[in-house]
């Protein structure tokens, strides 16, 4: 970066020169939460600039592999060895393949420093990772917002379930969530489209588990795959090719839903290829006045101004921008009076998996490829259950299907009969994944590299985080309960694995700019507003004070819609 825009010496912005680059609101990021901020601001009539560091991806038009058959992909979905060798990090992601690789950031395109192993999976394009998510959407419970206060790990959330409940409803009505009203306090019911259905073996598993293990409740996945046409999108066509982008609009993404809604208002200016360098802080006014942007193609530096700024760049990039936004008032990063910016990085614990085969229901099959399975919400350390060696708990997701091919041990290993056997419907199998809550630890943190910079002149992020004893103990329990449920339901050949994967690969990175009641120990207040800079809001994963064990995107979206509503109220009251 040139000295002229060195953040500590930034000139105050005055006069007409800034007019063409002035907006009511700036949203940094166009993914899961940025798309929501854009839609809400635009629909309320605010002229909104949405900055996206990646290229534009237009719904349907820019999904080049969406309708490709396996034989139309040269490597039938697999990636050339060269790409995998050049990308050891992103290659670990289950969704990274020949048909999806264009939606992922390659390792060398945006390096970072792993002080301890951390797999940072990134999607830089309009829509961000909302194109690539697993689409599971469970509300947080009342106790999830209270856990920190109860066991003293992490600061107390400044909000409770009742504060977010109407916003969960608001978001669900727009995005469309298929699900069953199960009446479980761990995952409160929402505004649901008709649920999908469990297949025979999943139903059998559900009946056995719910009967054998009181407190454990297997339910159909709640997912943003649409079981009926909703707001002009869908329904899901049961192809299960979601990560390529859906030409039917069968699941929620920014590209298919929030960004088109924002566009329709005429109030959105979307600027792709815009890497945000920092937020401009005006020392006299005591507020942020805009953002510094580097055009990723031309490297040209420019500034944009607005009354209110939403930072939704995706957890780690949000914190990178804030850490890089220094001034005399904030030498350690914007709004960082507390010193917690960058700290308390968390990611869900997805290490433990189990697998089994089921003998039975041989005469039953299914039609279509269901993009989901079952979900088992948290049951540990709830009600009468009390674990001695770990706090909090975990959920499970899983699904059953029949293997393709039915070759027996004694069948000939090649030839006509072998080929016929391979076309038969094979045994039922089921995979189970545990999804554990991760505790907030101060030492798990990110910081700016003092000497290494990326191709845009931004400092590289150094990531220093790890699992600790609570997570290790939880893995053991997940493996044990997964296996005992499979056994109880009559599964055979049960295998359990601890992938030992580092943090990051669950792609649920959270924290590093957390919400809290006390400005001394948190960055953001109960409406996602910076304690110290009232016109800057953060409502992506960075704001999270704890992780619970639900998939997080629904909560980011609800927090964002609520935060925009609050920001507009504050603007109207001329508080910001």
């Amino acid at each position: 970066m040139k000295d002229s825009i060195d953040s500590a010496n930034a000139p105050n912005i005055v006069g007409d020169a800034s007019k063409a680059n002035s907006f009511d609101a700036i949203v940094i990021g166009s993914g899961m939460s940025g798309g929501w901020a854009a839609k809400e601001f635009c629909e309320k009539g605010l002229k909104t600039l949405v900055l996206e560091r990646g290229r534009n991806v237009e719904h349907i038009k820019d999904y080049p592999t969406a309708t490709k058959e396996s034989w139309e992909l040269p490597h039938r979905g697999r990636l050339p060895l060269k790409i995998e060798q050049e990308n050891p990090i992103v290659s670990k992601c289950y969704a990274f393949g020949e048909a999806t690789e264009h939606f992922f950031v390659k390792d060398n395109e945006h390096p970072y420093v792993q002080v301890k192993p951390f797999d940072w999976i990134k999607g830089y394009q309009v829509g961000g990772k909302s194109l690539l998510w697993a689409r599971m959407t469970q509300r947080w419970s009342e106790f999830d917002f209270e856990s920190n206060a109860q066991d003293g790990h992490g600061v107390d959330w400044p909000i409770r379930y009742k504060d977010l409940a109407p916003w969960y409803s608001y978001v669900e009505k727009f995005i469309g969530v298929s699900g069953n009203r199960d009446g479980l306090y761990q995952i409160p019911d929402g505004e649901f489209l008709p649920p999908m259905e469990l297949n025979c073996v999943e139903k059998h598993f559900q009946e056995t588990v719910n009967k054998t293990f009181p407190g454990r409740n297997v339910v159909i996945s709640r997912t943003t795959n649409l079981t009926q046409k909703h707001n002009g999108r869908g329904p899901c066509q049961y192809r299960s090719l979601c990560h390529r982008g859906c030409p039917f609009g069968g699941y929620f993404s920014s590209n298919s839903a929030t960004l088109p809604a924002a566009t329709a208002t005429g109030n959105m200016t979307l600027r792709p290829f815009s890497v945000v360098h920092s937020i401009i802080y005006d020392e006299q006014k005591g507020r942020a006045t805009g953002v510094r942007v580097i055009d990723s193609n031309t490297k040209e530096e420019m500034e944009f101004y607005a009354k209110v700024i939403f930072v939704n760049a995706g957890t780690l990039n949000t914190t990178l921008i804030l850490l890089n936004s220094t001034s005399s008032r904030f030498p350690n990063g914007l709004g960082n009076d507390s010193g917690v910016l960058g700290h308390y990085l968390m990611d869900h614990n997805y290490r433990a998996r189990a697998y089994g085969e089921y003998e039975g229901f041989e005469d039953m099959y299914y039609y279509g490829r269901k993009p989901g399975g079952w979900y088992l919400p948290r049951f540990r350390n709830l009600g009468k259950d009390k674990q001695d060696n770990f706090l909090r708990g975990y959920s499970f997701s899983g699904g059953a299907s029949r293997r393709r091919g039915n070759v027996g041990e004694n069948d000939e290993p090649l030839g006509a009969a072998f080929k016929e056997k391979l076309t038969e419907v094979g045994p039922w199998t089921m995979g189970v994944t545990g999804m554990g809550e991760h505790l907030p630890y101060f030492e798990n943190h990110v910081r700016l590299s003092k000497d290494k910079k990326d191709q845009w002149g931004m400092p590289l992020l150094e990531i220093d985080s790890e699992n600790k004893q609570n997570e290790e103990n939880m893995v053991k329990d997940i493996l044990q309960t997964a296996s005992e449920m499979l056994e109880a339901a009559g599964f055979k050949n049960i295998k359990q694995t601890d992938s030992n994967q580092p943090l990051g690969l669950a792609i649920h990175e959270m924290g590093t700019a957390r919400m809290g009641k006390d400005p001394k120990t948190s960055m953001l207040n109960g409406i996602n507003q910076m304690h110290a800079v009232k016109n800057v809001f953060v409502s992506d994963g960075a704001c999270m004070t704890s992780t619970a064990c639900q998939n997080p995107s629904l909560t980011y979206m609800a927090l964002t819609a609520r935060a925009v509503d609050s920001a507009i109220n504050e603007l109207n009251k001329q508080n910001i």
Binding site: W71, L81, Q85, E197, M364, R369, K370, R404, G431
Partner: protein, 191 residues
Amino acid sequence: MNRREAISAVGFLVGGTVIGAQAFLTGCSSKPEGPSSTGLLTNDQISFMNEVGETILPTTPSSPGAKEAKVGEFMDIMLKDCYSPADQKIFMDGIATLDKASESKYDKSFVKLKPEEKHELLLTVDAEASKYKDSKKTDDPENHYYSMMKQLTLLGYFTSEIGATKALNHVAVPGHYEACVPLKPGQKAWS
């Protein structure tokens, strides 16, 4: 199906771990040992591999075989782009080894054998490859050439248009989902 499932399906079908799967799943930190050439297999070798494929998955009354699905051409692409130089060499040497076995047993090159002779010869090689993992010495290469040929045949065939739509039951856009439906007699698996 995700990648892990895709691999376990192939691994199950051929009764072993999938060659290259470690790199496939986790990426690989080592650099390739040398530049990989383009068009690794000659036309004759592609024809040879089509014959091997056809012997593993022959044309049957219900569907065309691996040769019509062009598994030889598929192997050429996969070998070049998705296999390490070491595995490429094992595979290429394997073609010669297999042909030599054919010459010494039948006095004819593999492609000239009658279908039943090809079948008989590959049964022997298949058994040898199955035992290889357990009997191989520490310094021996990880993979047996025939295991690669068989895996690529199965993968290439069932993801080809012929394999997916004629041998298996293929519905590109199911349109709806039925959770529990009776399996009809003789119904093929979904692709």
